[in-house]
Amino acid sequence: MKNVYLDHNATTDIHPEVKKTVIKTLENYGNPSSMHGLGRKAREAVEEARKKTASFIGAGEKEVFFTGSGSEANNTVLNIFSCGASGCDSRRNGRSGIITSVIEHPCILETSKCLEERGVPVKYLDVDKYGKVSKKQLEDMVDENTALVSIMTANNETGVVQDISPLAEVAHRAGAYFHTDAVQAVGKMPVDVKEMGVDFLTLSGHKIYAPKGVGALYVKKGTPFCPLIRGGHQEKGRRAGTENTPGIAALGKAFEMREKEMGAEASRLKKLKKMFKSEIKEKISDCSFNGDLPDSLPSTINLSIAGVEGEALMLYLDMEGISVSTGSACATGSLSPSHVLISMGLGAEMAHGSIRISMGRKTQQEDMEYLLHVLPRVVNRLREMSAVYFKETTHE
């Protein structure tokens, strides 16, 4: 059976060069904190990776430390300003308030909810129908207690990219720090911490062809910090725990490969997206694209199809060897459809009937042609049995 993987925003395959690095690094079991030869060798691998990671995002080496995931990095940043310990560095500006947006990843939103319950004032920016936050709303929202503004660079479901630099400026003018969750952006589009003007930036390995279990956090020099995981001097005390040497080395290698491959890949995927968009409109009636802006991630397509439910659609595609994901409630185990699509003003039917197609390094024209061949057939099948589409066509 064909195997067409179009779920790269969920996770990616491991790049063959990265795999080599993992295997090589696994051979050396030394603890990077040990002073003997094995330890020093492991330390070298970690520092090499730090150099590559920092350079990829335009950061200084000392400004980057490794975490166990993007979620951990995000949790770390959100928890900094509510530390409360009297001597803590994070108490420097005496503020604790957080502003974030309604379309963030659950690791931001659920941490925010938890902080709210602990008494931290949290405010949420809305998005317009394209999925963009408004600079004006942020200007109105910041106040003298805003410690941190956290807004994602690219959205995982729609690929919509926020204009980070002006938003960071608003935060800074108000005396607040700015964090961006760039897990979906780094490695898919140019990301430079200096150009964006951010104080914190989160990235993750498994979205860029490195293994799961490694992420990194950029913390601008001079920014207040408070660790989430304590009890060790690793990463200059910013993240305790013996370093995941193979994972970290893999992340560095993945960035080295991204450096070489990202540019050509982005323009190739842009063409594939354009082709898919024009052809699918011919083949499927009553469908629409969500968050489809010229500067959205070239790899991500979010499509709503009237009359069909996303999980059923996804599973039928799965039977044909195509992997995608859906914003339907059913697929997540929760009962509400995608919070991102709903906050963009999508109706329930279109939100339940959404699929996310996310292309990657290995996605070829023939993969998208196969999807174009299978999708209309599967949609027709589901529409034939759809109580909703039936209702629409017969105008009962």
């Binding site: 059923a312 059913c330 039917e349 034939e384 049995m385 759809s386």
Partner: protein, 202 residues
């Protein structure tokens, strides 16, 4: 394919659903009912053919919903053929689930609503044949559209020990999605508490 989230029987019915209504076939139904709500992700339509002995001879359906919604309606459409209306109106989500060899826990409340659509179709048949007295909708009304919780489910939960709205939610999952049914559910909760436990309240 390995480790599918659903049982083989669910998969089989999902891939090859039986008795789907197709417009071109002009199915001459005797009763028709709807259940569910698109807002919550599942909506279903059921049509039945009934003979002069009040036996269901055939049925057709349509659904907007996930794999378990499709499979559960499909399996129900096979179960009801040859059943008397009385028998068919007593089919519970649990029986449908057993017929499907199980469903993931989180799917039961939201996706098994074929029985409700079927009862609506049966009621429709009674109305069409001039026997509105047999209609049970009044006795069992869907209160929570999202989780398909009926007034009968609420009564049952009260009998099982639910005494406040929170406990009612624990028992039935009612009002856990859009929350619009809260007011109506609280009224029914009070009614059933009075009906069954009047002495306790005095």
């Amino acid at each position: 394919m390995s480790n599918w989230v659903y049982s083989d029987k669910v998969k089989e019915h999902f891939m090859n659903p039986r008795n789907i209504y197709r417009e071109e076939e002009e199915f001459d139904y005797d009763g028709k009912g709807m259940a569910g709500n698109i807002k919550c992700g599942d909506q279903m339509m059921m049509m039945i053919k009934v003979d002069d002995k009040d036996t269901i001879t055939d049925c057709r359906w349509k659904t907007f919903g996930c794999a378990s919604a499709i499979a559960s309606t499909s399996v129900l459409s096979e179960m009801v053929k040859g059943m008397s209306l009385e028998e068919a109106s007593r089919i519970s989500p649990k029986e449908i689930m057993e017929e499907l060899k199980g469903l993931p826990e989180n799917k039961v409340h939201c996706s098994v609503l074929g029985d409700k659509a079927l009862r609506a179709a049966i009621d429709d048949f009674y109305v069409r044949t001039g026997r509105p007295g047999k209609v049970k909708t009044g006795a069992e009304k869907v209160v929570c559209q999202c989780m398909n919780v009926t007034s009968a489910d609420i009564e049952h939960a009260v009998l099982e020990g639910a005494r406040n709205y929170y406990e009612l939610q624990e028992h039935t999952k009612l009002g856990t999605v859009c929350g619009r049914c809260k007011e109506e559910a609280e009224v029914l909760l009070r009614e059933y508490k009075e009906k069954h436990f009047e002495s306790e309240n005095k």
